[in-house]
Assembly symmetry: D3
Homo-oligomer: 248 residues x 6
């Protein structure tokens, strides 16, 4: 699997907050990691202000302590999923803000990772401006990373697919999955990663049910209304770009 | 390739008029046929009234003569593409009409062919009511073919993908391709089939240019703005149903 | 509650197949019934051909036996939910077909029930032509029921809201809920009704999870990302018509 | 204006019910008539069942009397607008139904009139199934009228634009105007035609206000937020097909 | 009404320019104020550059004089409507610009007001970049105001509905009302407030007609095509978030 | 043509990168120039980083040399098309960035040119963040240019139409043309301009085929499926704003 002539494939996940990659793409990460892929996860923020209510309710809490706690959770989850590299940009959240240098850093990561595909948030999310902005910036940085004149001489990014992972209220976000991924073989790892998110225990079972119901969709779409391939846990994704294939 | 333990895969194309399968899916048909698939084409009509202007301008033309000419063209094109079975329903066109028995016949074909995927028209087409109705009926018949109580004891259809092939003015039809298929290896066959359509010579070069420009899109989407896999001819398709996969 | 000066309010559910009203609106039915509403359910078919795979796999099964079994299940479920009147049109399914007389019968029911609101399927469903057609016909019949010249002298229908209940794959159907209903107080009844559907046991837990996750959405939308009103089970609905209110 | 070498241009309006052409396109009709065009109006029904509530509230009313009253109103309105030919198909309403012969009759009218443009209803209308069906059938008949093999030897229809006129609740119908027509010069005629609709007096001022507010939109779009061409009354239309031009 | 155990409810209107809250939400403001609600209005700018053409046409006009005149008009209108608090951010217009501190100020207002609902502009407006940006920022600030880690210890915002009020050309803005509010009881106040806008007299009757026609929609949707509750003036709103209810 | 009482009309093209105006609007430019219009082209950048891969592959290339080469190409193309004024903002690309002063400069150009119409990019382009941002800024600057209080005393912009020219993958960008322009008379000039783009030779034939296929659409929409006005080369455009007309 480490044959220098065939280096492992790689994927890149860009997560607005520290936990998004777990709920929304933990199965995809663990599955590809288990197949020998190198999966890099970028957390633009720790979700320290907007997704850490439980921590903030503790007396004497400070921003640094919240960030440290969230970082620790994310790191444990990354280990559980087999993440190759977890990169925390620590840009702040609610609102997330990225200046030119931050974007250039993300461009560098894209070029370094050279992913076969990328994963990020839905394009629209009226509940969460950070999620929307993340995808907008991912598309902008993908363009820049493809530019031969950006840091000339560096390795130019190809045309990796961008999959949008599942948001919390799919219909409100206008998110429509076109791809269901069977994550049954790695479900234990995803659940373990989910349980690292101690501050959001109310979501553990929510996202377990999401995975179970997406498995129903997987089965139904693989074999019709009265059959199909067995699947216990699945994740859904929406593709931004068309696929290029040699067979339908 | 005819190992009884691994029968060839099959695909089903449903074409409102005799020539649609050539312009819009000729490459997909020829490519899969060349890989050993059995591709069945259903022509619901010959396009005898609405797509045969050149024939009708000849003196003394009759409906039967037009239909015979169109059937002959379709048969020659089918041979050129390697179609396994060409089934002409001869239902009339402009407007195309299907009663319950016609639909049941299409259900039978779906079950007999047991396709890995199906191909048909865009869901909307203000220029062509026959095209819209065809896709609506294909979806209805797909449902019926999946019903265990329809002709009980027969083989129930699974959940084949339905790809919508390229309409004539894509943007007006709200058609958005999500899949580009490289048809370079079989382009000669598609062009040969196209040239069987003597009554619509004005479209030969139009659809050749479509294939060339879709190849540009194929290349661009396989490798970014300054590279990608070489491709000379391609076809685009829109998926109706989500894919179920084991790897992104 | 039976004061003749204030007759109970009424609602009307139109279900393409015998089980749809249970999965998709059982909570709304039970909740309003518990508040003293008269809820009428119309089942256009029993789903005897397309949603009874388990029965058809039994040896010697016939259409009549399937219909009888499905009718019995629907009747038990209706009792569990407190349905005021269950009306089975027995029109056949996959495909469902309604002629002018069938539509007039539905118009009569609408006028007789005089509902404060109606419930039916999503407007689009590529998996299920019966579902799509049902909503289209419900809208057509609503128009007819409002026509003073239809059976003149009869009671003309007002302008009841039409809520579209939750389809099986919401995103594929383009269904977007704008209303979440807390069904916690009547969950036991809905679950009991669900368990009447013996032929579709694989869906019992699926729709339980749907109700649990919609409850999360209820809570989140009633109080933000870190709070909100407790809710254990909910159902989602999409409104077709605007509301008319005296307060925002 | 009746030079045989330059026959007047013609337009065709297809109205589901007897009054639709007045509220929604009366200005366009009168304006083109005043310029010497021959404008033909087809009323598929009189709106006798669904749009004649006021008449039905009179004692002893019958369907024939309602139809006669509605026909008389439509005829007077047509005269007021300068309609060249008013053709009443008398197909019944709520629901409007058209069989193959009715459609063929509409095809004949399209070919006879040979319109430079056609006008009909919005594509979607959840309040009014007749409106939706009318536009669907107009598109179908437009296709048939263009077919060389339909009644071969007859004059084949060209490619007239189809404008969708303004429905009653534009936003609910998904109707988006792309063309505002200044009808100030013929407003008196439109108002006179409106006042022929005695059974719907509650709409006289409604549609007068629509015309006044569309005039504001006309002005604003002809000259920006602080100016523009004066216009007192206007109508809005949505184009189905692209324009073909020699200058932008 | 000032029982300390039941403080009055509150609402928050965010208006890009000084007059928007009058045309688009004046009725909602006056109605809720009349019911004892505290309605706060934030004007991000005075519309001094882009919506004051009449003033700028006067000789010797300066930016400060325009702003003073617009502020005075807004204040008089606020009094007429019963606004609890009018807050002018004075950020400049065409283009409106908000930096991080401006956004934080809006977050503070949201938390202070603790509104049961908020009102702002349509999500899209090709005529007016300020309108679009306002709604985008309102959503961003709503997220921030909900974040426990933003100014920890402060009162965190719940999940107030955001209603989008009516833009000037609804169809071009993709705005679709789902709620009609009867403002008949307070129409005199709205008209009085409208007449405070001396610089835009050309819009007084325009928005009066809007209110009259929305009243027709109110009536029609409360009782069908031939009846419904009487209503003389109404306003329309589009909800961003789903409702959570205990009864349909 | 230079009668001072009837100055030539003018148009304004805003192009994100130096070559966009050639591929996407070269025909419209040349056609109107040939009719005596003054067509101004603004290139916000040279596309030096993102659209000059061929140049960057040359050894020793620098940003300045790329920009010089791209500027020279754009200037030659402008001459070929008959552009009145080519203005290079030189703002950098991938990502393109515009601050307040850059926007004010574009506002000045809009007012100076006083165009009858403007041309720019599609509203959405996931492949190219620069394209999306350009159109967003064009709309913002159009608003500002219309504001009487922006640089008071200057000539205020009217309400010019904004046409969106054809992007590279129309369906992915959600671009839908509503206007086809016959550019046959000036095709030679457009092709000559295209051939000035030496760095993107792979697109010469691509955009020639686009023009040929749009000509087919022009013909088809001017005369139906079996006829129409001859046209060899055309361009397609999408209108942002409604038209105001005196005749349909």
């Amino acid at each position: 699997m480490t044959d220098p002539h065939h280096p492992p494939k790689s994927a890149l996940v860009i997560s607005a907050h520290a936990a998004d990659f777990v709920w929304r793409a933990g199965g995809a990460i663990a599955l590809h990691a288990a197949m020998g892929w190198k999966v890099t996860v970028v957390c633009l923020s720790f979700g320290e202000r907007g997704e850490s209510a439980k921590l903030w309710k503790q007396p004497g809490m400070t921003l640094d302590r919240v960030k440290a706690a969230r970082r620790a959770e994310a790191e444990r989850a990354a280990v559980a999923l087999g993440v190759h590299d977890l990169i925390c940009f620590d840009l702040g959240d609610y609102p997330l803000q990225m200046d030119r240098a931050d974007k250039d850093r993300l461009v560098d990561v894209m070029r370094d990772v050279d992913p076969a595909f990328m994963l990020s948030h839905s394009s629209y999310d009226p509940y969460n401006a950070d999620h929307m902005m993340t995808t907008q910036i991912v598309l902008e940085c993908r363009s820049t990373a493809q530019a031969w004149g950006h840091k000339p001489g560096g390795k130019v990014l190809g045309a990796p697919q961008l999959y949008l992972f599942e948001p919390h209220q799919t219909e409100q976000m206008g998110w429509k999955p076109d791809t269901f991924l069977d994550i049954t073989p790695v479900w234990d790892r995803k659940r373990a990663a989910i349980e690292c998110m101690e501050g959001q225990e109310h979501l553990w079972d929510f996202y377990t049910r999401v995975a179970q119901n997406r498995a129903n969709h997987f089965t139904r779409n693989s074999g019709g209304q009265s059959g199909g391939r067995a699947c216990k846990y699945a994740e859904g994704f929406q593709s931004v770009f068309p696929r290029t294939v040699d067979m339908l």
